[in-house]
Point group: C2
Chain length 295, copies 2
């Protein structure tokens, strides 16, 4: 048996699938796509995915079912190496003859690229499980959470926020950051609860709209409190956004405009649920509470 | 409506569930359990899980279905804060009036605690989906991968390895590190492939035994190559284990004993598959290849 030839054949299947699965589109956070690809394609024996494929063949299974899981496994392995190489861990400059991720992209992006690969591994497996389980509420809910937490959601927003520091950014970029960095998890929390509870499409749509509005309102309130809040109540230093030259709603548009925006968002969030009558009480009271909080 | 009272009631449900789900047993890696608990219980409004519960109630769903997902969501939120606070990111010393995770446990444990929480969130959701889908191969496979990658698997091994640096450790600790840090993903790769391919119990057991042996053999070979390997072929500096005072098999038992151990493990791996005849060819050739590699 020419084991090297067989290993090479299997490796090539993995390389192609990896290239297929890993995003490469242009967007505000595309530096993390580049950074993830850098480490994934910096070599490696692909031992784990090859073992997975071989075990499937050993039992006469269908190799196509395994490919997303095999890629997910390699992503998990790869994220662990990226984090392991960080200065805070093993502090390695080279791996497989190439510069380690943080030596090319910096520590912050390397941390996020590792987080991104770990989360993306689950996104991939969950999506692949979704195809044939369209009625399984729990897989649909997992998919909701996984997508919102990853490189096209929260992590994506963190990356865009990070690379926008000390830069003047436009409204679109700020919207992207808000929508993803904090908005994504808040929206998917509400959607996940509704999905698991067996929501109708009308209910899910109304709750999603409510979530979008209070998510943004919550974020702008946070940013306002970072300017006018009481350090004791908030439990951390205020003024850090201005100090770090972070673009936030009140920094870009001023306090008055920001407070007006929060009130508008509150009104819209109430509007989206009002047709449901009394059962909206909690959400409407909560929106009011979140808007008026001072911590 | 007394919104503060309702929020407090829901928050208490989450606190209890979190305490129930988060591990606290004594083991080699228990510092990460402590570190994860530190940040999870350092306060927080629990806004996301509360929204999830409320959305489920809004559609008259069963709140018990939501609890694991609500905790998972809070773990994802919490991991993102731990990583965000790191010196490489926002470099914050305080959050909610308490020292941030890395200020208490150091940067390395804080990175791993974040990774651990992210992975554990998926473990929790996948396990909760497994209960009612016992015949769903893909969920079983996800469960296999998630468990092996997390704080009771790879991350657990990384933590034990980290805290063992510059210490003389015993055989049991070294076994724990090997079994988890590298072994876990190799074993779950093979098991996942077999599960997805529809393995019989006999096949799954034999493949698991094979995987356990080559996993350890692979690790010891790596450690041997870190002493006698060729830097050009390996693509990174050799000798780092001795330099970093890392306990490895060859450091503890010497090169001869280590090479003998690798050969024994190879023999055992072949043994576990030999009853399957020709279809074991790939795995047996691979074991031989891995044992003899010089990179």
């Amino acid at each position: 048996m020419d084991i090297e030839k067989i290993l090479k054949e299997k490796l090539e299947i993995i390389e192609k699938a990896m290239d297929h699965y890993l995003p490469k589109e242009k967007n505000y956070q595309d530096i993390i796509f580049e950074s993830m690809r850098y480490s994934i394609f910096a070599g490696g024996k692909r031992l784990r995915p090859i073992l997975m494929m071989a075990a499937c063949e050993f039992v006469n299974g269908d190799i196509d079912d395994v490919i997303p899981f095999a890629c997910a496994m390699e992503m998990i392995h790869c994220y662990s190496l990226i984090h392991d190489d960080l200065p805070a861990m093993d502090d390695d400059d080279y791996r497989r003859g190439k510069l380690t991720n943080h030596k090319v992209y910096g520590d912050a992006i390397a941390i996020l690229a590792g987080d991104g690969l770990l989360n993306y591994a689950y996104e991939l497996m969950i999506k692949s499980s979704l195809d044939k389980n369209e009625n399984n509420k729990k897989i649909i809910a997992m998919n909701e959470i996984a997508s919102s937490a990853g490189i096209h959601g929260m992590i994506g927003g963190q990356v865009a926020d990070l690379i926008s520091e000390n830069k003047s950014i436009d409204e679109k970029t700020l919207d992207f950051i808000h929508k993803n960095k904090t908005g994504a998890l808040i929206i998917s929390s509400i959607r996940t609860g509704a999905i698991l509870g067996g929501a109708t499409e009308k209910e899910l749509n109304a709750l999603s709209e409510y979530a979008t509005n209070i998510g943004l309102g919550f974020q702008i309130t946070d940013d306002i409190l970072d300017i006018i809040g009481d350090e004791e109540k908030i439990g951390k230093k205020v003024g850090s956004d201005i100090q770090n030259n972070k673009a936030t709603y009140p920094v870009l548009y001023g306090l008055d405009e920001s407070m007006k925006k929060v009130q508008d968002l509150f009104n819209q969030s109430v509007e989206s649920l009002k047709s449901f009558g009394q059962k909206s009480d909690f959400f409407i009271n909560l929106a009011d509470y979140l808007v008026k909080r001072d911590y």
